[in-house]
């Protein structure tokens, strides 16, 4: 035991030691004479002399000339004093004159050139050379195993800068990407802090199986949610086959490349960013007032001929609120929500670079309270990325990251607590003054559930990457790395026992059952360890107008996952929570492990002629342990070409276009994420039985294996058009794609008499076709007034269709969804309804009812197949039809940034023009099952006298006829949302290099038709950790 402990500490110690070495490395080597990287560009201005701080701030007049790199004067360039209205423009000879306070800082700017900030010091003449701004076409884009100039990219690639990401004060990086890139769909499904559920899709859902994109952080698969946004240098989204084929059998759903920051050349730069914020529930359905609530419950009873639940005395007392122990009405919302839930994030980073190397180091801390009480998550991330110049040819690159995630909550999940809130009677005392509770059915009370027990999940993630880049000669270079990525999680769920609790008023034993009957603890240990290595050779050479770039390489990934669980119950007390304090009688253990390996060879060749014609080919050859011998290896090719029309003579001069480029690509990708060992016939050891009170093991073949199983293949074509106008101040990017996924693994039904679960077979096909459009406008740089702005709009659509199920189906993966040829994967099935029965005439017109008891006030279902009964299977066997689908159509994002003097403002709108959601569960059951009553229901429930214009069915206790899946409950969830706004101010001061303060809001405004749930709600019974909105403020400091 002691030995093992020691080992654990040892590895942490080694880690800290390594980090310490990294941190000091550049200073250690300062004395050494590595003079190899002296060509690093010096400061851009042509200033001579040193700036010193003046003590007295009198006004001085500064004159000078502004020129471009060729020495030509720039007329009309702006010279201004930031944070003031002082400013002027240069004359025709590029000359200017301006009176400013001593020791000021001047900003020189002009369209198409990089702005420059210069301290005037004690000089009176300042000549400035402005450097032409690198347009976005010169921007370097990270692509698979390398980088490329944006102008040479021929595939469909979008990028998001780390700066844009870091500006959004969110804890989950995935949600910061929402709406930034056309074709990238991110849906925030809510979730407990640290466990937010976001679904990420690139260009639609491509398969019936796992359609998550491949997310690579520094080349290694990781979760996007946990990457520290402040550590991200850039994110590249590879959308088409040409750009992602180099990832072969993992790339069918698209690839997201996250690159972390590296040290920058120059002095040590330290920056500190923070924000503090307050979250509140967003779109949680509003409950109706207690009196209406109780009256509607009484009405539900009266409508089935039963006596009312609540007496008038009861209702009056609840309304008066004077005797809550005798006449209770639980305010669960008040009992479980945590209004103004606090959230904070701090981030310190250091960047430095010299002759011996470069380093980026950062420590981040985030602490988030849940909007349900007692939920909290803390995350600490430490990162060191370093580049050491071992010789003039060899650079050693190391990335080290340690992350600790600590989630804490009560003994129940947010889903379970929300379920309790939505489903449990309110005529109970939520909590007595002595901390005891009333329990419905012995176990239900949302307040008790948010208070009792404990859940903790503590994860240690370690990422270590050791790599090198070796320059062989001017054209050839070799790069490679070995990476270890481990995640280990300690799970702990303790549920308190409330047995023995006595009623506060009567002193009698409270009836305790279910999960509160006995204390129980489940502990789990998950370990994931991935070791990967890659080695690739780059060749880059230009002859005359020909330019060639090639890459060839090898990659191997080995992944092993292991889980063990242990369980005991009946603990000595609720406070002793070590597993040893539990009863051995019912103890249980379990565990399993799995492993996979992927071995790959890949290559890429680019050829361009005269920067006008570009060609690219990629190939990847993948071998995967997931498949049987003979089916293991697959080849994934892609080809693409680009034509930069604006470089042709006929468009080159004086044309409307500053850039015009046509791109086209075709390629094939694979999806190997289809489970493990599915090619083997195996005896399952989990089919035990029991004799005479003893467990006995048993075995059986439960699923037939399929030795012929292989990956799903996606073939994708893409056409893109890039246009730039007015010196690229207006950029338009348009894409059209067609994606066809074949050999999708489905369990084709086999005769049910065979007695196995059907094996998976490569059989189905799904297509996605769509288009994307992005328009960006950059307003003119700081004019005299100092006002500058930019607008970006993106818009996209994708149509999904199941092309082939080999004549089988329809399949019903859950009670809403249907998979059938010719329809979307996300199709919804249900009965067709023209409304509710309000008159005898309606009853005569629609005589077929789902139950004989259906009458006035119930939902009408159409007897589609005309057989006289309403049955819930798909037409023509029954009366269900495909009533819609959940695909978001016409997604858009609108970004607006503006700055004026020291102020900056940005807002970001995001939305979907067409989307549907099928209502289910408590919100439509209401008083029929003593469930939650939303205001909508109280307003809309039909009653012949009280509310003859109501659009919802009559409330009837125990009614289930109105709960069937039908288009009656289909909700329009198209929306427009102010995802984020931010107002910042850069404070003029001389103490630090930069100081900015800001306030920001997330999800502050939403326009949507439904008032019952957040439009981004996942399907189902609305039982999930509620969505939130966030108001925050923060500081960015650079020293």
């Amino acid at each position: 035991m002691k030995k093992r402990l020691l080992k654990g500490y040892l590895s942490i110690k080694i880690l800290i030691f390594l980090m310490a070495i990294q941190l000091f490395y550049p200073s250690i080597h300062k004395g050494h004479s590595h003079v190899l990287y002296e060509e690093i560009p010096a400061s851009n201005n042509s200033l001579k002399g040193e700036a010193t701080l003046a003590i007295f701030r009198a006004d001085v007049t500064i004159t000078g000339t502004v020129t471009d790199q060729n020495g030509e004067p720039i007329p009309g360039a702006t010279v201004s004093l930031p944070g003031t209205t002082i400013g002027t423009a240069t004359d025709l000879d590029g000359k200017y004159s301006l009176t400013v306070p001593e020791a000021s800082e001047l900003v020189f700017s002009f369209i198409g050139f990089e702005s420059q900030r210069i301290m005037i010091g004690d000089r009176s003449i300042i000549d400035v050379t402005l450097v032409e701004a690198t347009s976005s076409l010169d921007e370097v884009v990270v692509v698979g195993f390398g980088t490329q100039k944006r102008a040479n990219v021929t595939g469909a690639v979008s990028t998001v800068s780390g700066e844009d990401l870091a500006r959004r004060p969110v804890v989950n990086t995935a949600s910061a990407l929402q709406g930034t890139t056309p074709g990238l769909t991110i849906q925030n499904n809510g979730g407990a802090p640290g466990n937010e559920s976001t679904s990420i899709r690139i260009r639609g859902v491509g398969t019936l199986n796992n359609s998550n994109p491949l997310i690579l952080v520094d080349g290694v698969e990781q979760s996007l949610s946990t990457v520290e946004p402040n550590n991200i240098a850039s994110i590249t989204v590879l959308k088409d086959a040409a750009s992602s084929a180099i990832y072969g059998s993992r790339a069918a759903n698209g690839v997201i490349l996250v690159t972390t920051k590296r040290g920058e050349e120059g002095e040590v730069k330290i920056s500190y960013n923070n924000f503090v914020g307050w979250q509140n529930p967003n779109f949680f359905p509003e409950p109706t007032d207690p009196v209406t609530w109780m009256r509607l419950e009484n009405e539900a009873q009266a409508n089935v001929g039963a006596s009312p639940t609540y007496s008038e005395t009861y209702i009056e007392n609840v309304a008066a609120g004077t005797n809550p122990l005798e006449y209770p009405f639980a305010d669960y919302e008040g009992g479980i929500f945590n209004p103004n839930a606090f959230q904070q994030r701090h981030s310190v980073s250091l960047s430095s670079g010299g002759k011996s190397g470069r380093i980026f180091a950062s420590v981040n801390y985030a602490d988030t309270d849940g909007i349900l009480q007692n939920f909290n998550n803390k995350q600490v991330t430490m990162r060191i990325n370093s580049d050491m110049y071992a010789s003039d040819k060899l650079t050693i690159k190391t990335n080290l990251m340690y992350r600790n995630r600590a989630f804490n909550g009560p003994g129940f999940t947010g889903q379970r607590i929300t379920q309790a809130l939505l489903h449990i009677n309110r005529n109970i005392v939520m909590e007595y003054p002595d901390g005891t509770y009333d329990l419905v059915s012995g176990q239900w009370n949302a307040r008790a559930m948010v208070q009792e027990g404990e859940t903790s999940r503590i994860s240690d993630d370690v990422f270590g990457q050791l790599g090198f880049a070796y320059t062989i000669n001017e054209a050839l270079s070799l790069e490679g790395n070995v990476t270890l990525n481990t995640e280990s999680t300690d799970g702990f769920i303790f549920q308190n026992s409330l047995a023995g609790m006595r009623n506060y008023v009567t002193g009698e034993l409270v009836n305790v059952g279910g999960w509160f009957a006995t204390s129980q603890l489940t502990e789990s240990q998950d370990n994931q360890r991935e070791i990967s290595q890659r080695l690739y050779l780059n060749y880059d050479q230009s002859f005359d107008r020909h330019s060639i770039q090639t890459t060839a390489g090898y990659e191997e990934i080995y992944n092993r996952f292991k889980q063990i669980t242990a369980y005991r119950d009946n603990f000595f007390s609720n406070d002793l929570r070590d597993i040893n304090a539990g009863d051995v009688q019912n103890q249980r253990t379990g565990g399993y492990s799995q492993e996979w390996r992927l071995r790959s060879f890949f290559g890429r060749a680019n050829y361009s002629f005269d920067d006008r014609y570009m060609f690219q080919a990629n190939v990847r050859y993948d071998g995967s342990s997931r498949f049987g011998e003979g089916k293991r290896w697959g080849i994934f090719p892609s080809f693409s070409a680009g034509w930069r029309i604006s470089e042709e003579d006929f468009l080159k001069d004086g044309s409307l276009f500053s850039d015009l480029r046509l791109r086209g690509s075709w390629g094939q990708l694979g999806n190997q994420r289809i489970g493990l060992y599915r090619y083997l016939n195996t005896y399952n050891l989990g089919t035990g039985y029991q004799f005479n009170n003893n467990l006995v093991p048993g075995t059986a073949i439960t699923s037939a294996g399929n030795p012929d199983i292989t990956w799903e293949t996606t073939t994708m074509s893409n056409i893109g058009l890039d246009m730039g106008f007015m010196d690229d101040r207006i950029e338009v990017i348009a894409e059209y794609f067609y994606k066809y996924t074949d050999d999708i693994l489905i369990e084709l039904p086999i005769p049910r008499t065979i007695g196995y679960n059907p094996p998976v077979q490569n059989a189905a096909a799904v297509s996605n076709k769509g288009w994307e459009l992005a328009v960006n406008y950059h307003g003119s740089p700081a004019s005299e007034s100092g006002f500058q702005y930019s607008v970006g709009i993106n818009f996209s659509d994708v149509v999904n269709r199941i092309e082939d199920l080999k004549g089988t189906g329809p399949f019903f993966p859950d009670k809403f969804t249907v998979w059938t040829e010719g329809e979307s994967i996300n199709s919804l099935r249900g009965l067709k309804s023209p409304g509710i029965y309000k008159t005898q005439e309606d009853l005569d017109n629609y005589p077929a009812t789902i139950f004989p008891t259906v009458s006035i006030g119930d939902i009408i279902y159409e007897d589609l197949n005309g057989d006289g009964v309403i049955s819930q299977s798909l037409y023509p066997a029954g009366d269900q039809y495909i009533m819609g689908n959940e695909d978001p159509r016409y997604e858009f994002g609108v970004r607006f940034n503006a700055s004026y003097k020291g102020f900056d403002f940005s807002m970001f709108w995001q939305g979907v023009l067409r989307q549907q959601h099928s209502l289910d569960g408590a919100l439509m059951e209401g008083p029929n099952y003593t469930n939650f009553i939303p205001v909508t229901m109280a307003r809309e429930a039909y009653h012949p006298e009280r509310n003859p214009n109501g659009t919802w069915p009559m409330v009837r206790s125990g009614n289930s006829a109105n709960l069937m899946e039908s288009d009656f409950w289909l909700q329009n969830t198209s929306y427009l949302r102010l995802k984020n706004f931010q107002l910042g101010y850069t404070i003029p001061q001389n103490v630090v290099a930069n100081l900015r303060v800001y306030v920001s809001g997330e999800n502050m405004l939403t326009f949507t038709e439904t008032e019952l749930f957040d439009p981004e709600t996942p399907r189902g019974r609305s039982q999930f950790f509620p969505h939130s909105k966030l108001f925050s403020g923060g500081v960015n400091v650079t020293f």
Partner: protein, 372 residues
């Protein structure tokens, strides 16, 4: 051009280095928690485990707890399409999942039995007598599955060998299925292939179970002479008798008692289930299955009937089976009246009873003492 040559040279070198080991090395990963069929059927233990695997498919909770709910003595609460609720209401369709899963379960059992019978001969080392008994157990269990299948569906596919996933087998006439089951059981009975009882693994198939099963299928198929003779033979074994205490029969005391001929066994930590969801709302249940008044009407009176209290003097088995208003439940009193203050108030929630009664006893007994 020299550089290009260099490139080719380096690429060549890299591939050479990688080519030193076979491309498939390390891609043959065997599942660490499952056994490949290639190494199965070598030792006696393999047969034991595979036969235990057949027992696991004996009637499960849905069959035992919910089948009564589709008859006129019970009610199954609604829970989405495809449940026994639809059967109970008469609105089920051809793809009803609850019915389909019973079919699947029995044919899974048949497949496991067929797999044992087809492969047990491959075991070279082992106790011959034991292996013969395992074989008889597999045949008995297969006969049991066909008894249930033919009783519920009539004509069913009679499959006696493992199938390929592409095989399609038609249905066999019910009478032939019954003939087959009786012939199988006769062979087991006449060959004395199963023991009278077990000292350790109580719950395995016995000779008595085989004879009793024969009596049951014969009785269900109106072959009364066969049924009578078989039932008599069970009684003549002299080891079964009705358990004197009806209530205790369904509790720990009644486990493996003299009334039990063959049952689904229970053990903590085994394939058990939370029957609580079937119970009354006030003790944490959801009234998934509940008795209806028709069940009450089936019980006679043990004394004079009291017109003011219909529960007075009722056959005490009614009390052991159901909760009704006035009975103690947990630490309080069951009350399902429309003005009840408890969670058991009729139709008061998703979890409460719809008809006023709740279930009390639950046990899985497949073949109980027969008295003809």
């Amino acid at each position: 051009m020299k550089i290009l040559n260099n490139t080719i040279k380096y690429i060549g070198l890299c591939y050479l280095a990688l080519g030193l080991y076979s491309c498939d090395d390390g891609l043959d990963l065997i599942p660490p928690g499952q056994v490949s069929e290639l190494i199965y059927w070598q030792q006696e233990k393999d047969a034991n485990l595979a036969v235990n695997g057949i027992y696991a498919e004996l009637d499960g909770q849905a069959m035992v707890k919910e089948l009564d709910a589709v008859t006129d003595i019970g009610f199954r609460a609604p829970s989405g399409p495809g449940s026994f609720h639809d059967v109970c209401m008469g609105t089920f369709d051809p793809v009803n999942a609850a019915i389909g899963s019973q079919w699947d379960r029995y044919y899974r059992g048949v497949q496991r039995a067929n797999n044992v019978l087809a492969n047990i001969g491959r075991i070279e080392q082992g106790d011959e007598d034991l292996l013969a008994r395992y074989e008889a157990e597999a045949r008995f269990l297969r006969a049991f599955f066909y008894t249930q299948l033919s009783s519920l569906w009539g004509d069913v596919p009679l499959i006696l060998d493992p199938l390929e996933i592409t095989d399609h087998i038609g249905r066999t006439a019910k009478s032939e299925v019954v003939d087959f089951v009786i012939a199988e059981l006769d062979q087991i009975i006449q060959g004395n292939q199963l023991p009278i009882s077990y000292s350790q693994e109580v719950g395995r198939a016995t000779l008595g179970a085989a004879i009793a099963l024969k009596a049951r299928i014969a009785y269900r198929n109106e072959r009364y002479t066969v049924a009578r003779d078989a039932a008599k033979a069970v009684m003549d074994l002299g080891i079964y008798e009705l358990y004197p205490d009806y209530e205790a029969l369904f509790q720990y005391a009644g486990q493996n008692s003299s009334e039990i001929i063959f049952d689904r066994q229970y053990a903590v930590g085994g394939d058990t289930y939370n029957a609580f969801s079937y119970a009354a709302a006030s003790i944490g249940g959801g009234s998934v299955v509940e008795p209806v008044h028709n069940l009450f009407l089936k019980y006679g009176y043990k004394g004079p009937m009291n017109p003011d209290d219909p529960f007075e003097n009722i056959d005490p088995r009614w009390n052991y089976t159901t909760y009704y208003t006035g009975q103690p439940i947990g630490t309080s009193t069951f009350n399902s009246l429309p003005d009840s203050p408890t969670a058991d108030r009729v139709r008061s929630s998703e979890f409460s009873t719809v008809n006023g009664y709740n279930l009390k006893l639950m046990v899985v007994i497949l073949i109980r003492g027969l008295s003809i």
